[in-house]
């Protein structure tokens, strides 16, 4: 007797997303869907611990630019172009970014301008990440070691940097990365060069190994020693070290939408992981609560996922704010991050920011939201 044919987890994921995201994103969903199913776009996070000038030269010759320093210039362009950019929906016009004015679209231009003081003041400093222009699908060459053996850059989804930028690490801040593995955002935090102390935690020992590898490949010994890596359940953190940190990053486990439609391995949509998947919002809420409790009063938390699902995004934020208030008497303010809308495509959310994949700028998905205690 033959076993019933298995539907691949990727197909289950895609079906699940078709059902929920088409309702949520409406006209935008076909473009997002195509983006998820095509090769994603990477950014090269420069390693400030390695001499960078020849690398920046090399990248600029290839027409790549540092989107972090480009971003503030576009804020101004956005303000001028916003009226023109928000198109009506459902008219069948093939105008880019049309979709009931919910998407704000930026064209990437290369004008030289002074960095807007508003934006410069509110993002984590010293982070440089190169990306190729819109529509350019060139791939970065693999990272190369320098004379000291440290790699020159780290390839990652540029949208993943946004939560780190939003955290706005200030000199000597105590920073907690609650779900640090595999370590891209942790590395970005270290690139600021201003963390007073960085605690990097992840519940998974195997993933923490990857984190160690990254630290060893990119960060010199004396800096590594300022990082404490732990393998605890993040949910316990609030009790263990309440009110200790200035800045907390809670980059929670989620349905990793892009991975789930492309990779069969380690896919949370496998039938046997249904329970785990259904429990995700609860787990995410618990982790966010722990992150909030670990923050000093006046400190800031950034919550992030790589999913488009409101159940894992806005809903978790709302519940957390409510619980903080009612059960812990902690007042939480949700910060405005709209000045971040200079990279790729964004969708309006009630709370927080959502980067949508799009073929011309295939970053994301990435949801992030900043809370101040």
């Amino acid at each position: 007797a033959a076993t019933a044919p298995r539907i691949p987890a990727t197909r289950l994921a895609l079906h699940h997303f078709d059902t929920s995201y088409s309702l949520q994103l409406k006209d935008l969903w076909p473009s997002v869907r195509a983006g998820l199913l095509c090769e994603q776009k990477y950014g090269a996070l420069l390693n400030n611990f390695s001499p960078v000038s020849h690398v920046t030269q090399e990248l600029e010759l290839l027409n790549a630019t540092d989107f972090v320093s480009e971003a503030p210039k576009k804020v101004q362009q956005l303000q001028c172009g916003a009226a023109a950019g928000e198109a009506g929906r459902g008219e069948g016009r093939s105008q880019e970014g049309s979709g009931e004015g919910r998407t704000v679209m930026q064209a990437e231009t290369m004008t030289q301008a002074e960095m807007s003081p508003v934006l410069r003041a509110s993002i984590s400093p010293n982070i440089k990440c190169y990306t190729f222009p819109r529509g350019d699908i060139t791939r970065f060459r693999p990272a190369r070691p320098d004379t000291l053996g440290l790699l020159d850059y780290y390839l990652m989804d540029a949208a993943s940097l946004l939560p780190v930028l939003a955290l706005n690490v200030q000199p000597d801040d105590f920073v907690l990365d609650l779900c640090a593995a595999p370590g891209g955002k942790t590395l970005a935090l270290l690139q600021t060069g201003v963390c007073g102390h960085l605690a990097a935690n992840d519940i998974s020992i195997s993933r923490t190994k990857r984190l160690y590898q990254i630290l060893h490949s990119y960060v010199p010994k004396e800096i590594r020693e300022t990082v404490s890596v732990t393998s605890c359940d993040g949910r316990d953190w609030g009790q263990v070290e309440g009110g200790t940190f200035h800045k907390v990053l809670v980059d929670v486990p989620c349905t990793t939408d892009r991975h789930s439609v492309m990779e069969e391995d380690n896919n949370i949509f496998h039938r046997r992981r249904t329970k785990e998947r259904q429990m995700l919002p609860m787990l995410q809420l618990q982790l966010l609560m722990a992150g909030i409790l670990a923050t000093k009063p006046g400190g800031e938390v950034v919550y992030s996922t790589c999913s488009l699902s409101p159940l894992q995004n806005e809903y978790v934020i709302e519940r957390a704010v409510e619980i903080a208030e009612t059960q812990f008497n902690i007042n939480i303010h949700v910060e405005d991050l709209s000045h971040f809308r200079t990279l790729s495509f964004f969708s309006d959310c009630r709370l927080g920011e959502l980067v949508l994949p799009h073929l011309t700028a295939n970053f994301g998905p990435m949801y992030f939201c900043k809370l101040r205690r």
Binding site: D18, S22, D27, W29, P30, S31, R33, A34, L37, C38, E39, G92, R93, S94, Q95, E96, G135, I137, H358, L359, T360
Partner: protein, 266 residues
């Protein structure tokens, strides 16, 4: 010198008698000048007999001067073959005008393409007739590629022969069909029908193939040119890498009887 001039005059006169103007005769004489007049006249005559106008015949010969060297029996024979396949009258003229290689195509190649279309793709004789009338170039196609093209539409897109004929499937290069189909598919606008599923909400093949790109993008794909351009680049790269991977496995794999034929992608 005088002799040549006289001969030229004689030839020109003969061509004029067949219906060519003085200007046309001059152009015709300019093709393959060392060819004997009999050959030239015979080839021209054959084309006129097929019903081509003097200008059309001349145009054809200018594009494929090699036809002048073909024995007239072969030209006749090939015209007959094409007629038997169902290309009659105006259709035949149009077909050979558009595809002069229909004459020079080796017999075996042509027979193989026909056999493929009838026996493997299962087009009826009537359908084949229409395919040939609308896309005579199918006969010139390498049978393996043709089969691949057909199978893609049949299995991957779930389209039946009747719709293929109506949509003029073979008029569009395979790569372009694939670009448009996969673009729609990844946007969630086209689904390969499941077994037994007769009704789908898929856009009609006719629209996918025959709409100009601009209209395809706005009305079928609801997308922008920019997106589509990037998509095509990404897809081309995916294919290239898939080919590289396949080539690698083929080297390692003793058994070369794989289900995926090794036809080159466009």
């Amino acid at each position: 010198m005088a002799g040549r001039l006289l001969r030229g005059c004689g030839e020109a006169a003969a061509l004029r008698a067949m219906g060519f103007s003085e200007e046309q005769a001059r152009r015709l004489l300019g093709l393959q000048p060392r060819l004997g007049p009999q050959r030239r006249e015979a080839a021209a005559a054959q084309l006129l007999l097929l019903g081509l106008s003097a200008e059309a015949a001349l145009g054809l010969l200018e594009r494929s001067p090699g036809l002048l060297r073909m024995p007239t029996e072969r030209l006749q024979e090939r015209a007959g073959d094409l007629r038997r396949l169902g290309l009659g009258g105006g259709q035949l003229q149009r077909a050979v005008s558009r595809c002069p290689q229909l004459f020079t195509l080796p017999r075996r190649r042509m027979a193989a393409a026909v056999r493929l279309l009838r026996e493997q793709c299962l087009f009826t004789a009537e359908q084949l007739r229409e395919v040939l009338a609308t896309c005579p170039a199918v006969l010139l196609e390498e049978p393996r590629r043709l089969h691949h093209h057909f199978q893609y539409a049949y299995f991957r897109m779930g389209v039946q022969q009747k719709e293929m004929v109506k949509a003029r499937l073979f008029q569009m290069p395979f790569a372009e069909l694939r670009n448009r189909h996969i673009f729609l598919e990844r946007r969630g606008l086209y689904q390969t029908p499941h077994k037994g599923q007769t009704q789908t909400c898929n856009p009609k093949l006719k629209d996918i193939l025959q709409l100009p790109e601009e209209d395809f993008l706005t009305s079928l794909a609801s997308s922008t040119r920019e997106e589509y351009e990037v998509f095509k680049k990404l897809l081309a790269r995916e294919e290239e890498e898939e080919e590289d991977r396949d080539a690698l496995y083929a080297e390692e794999d003793e058994d070369l009887d794989s289900e995926e034929s090794k036809t080159a992608w466009e």
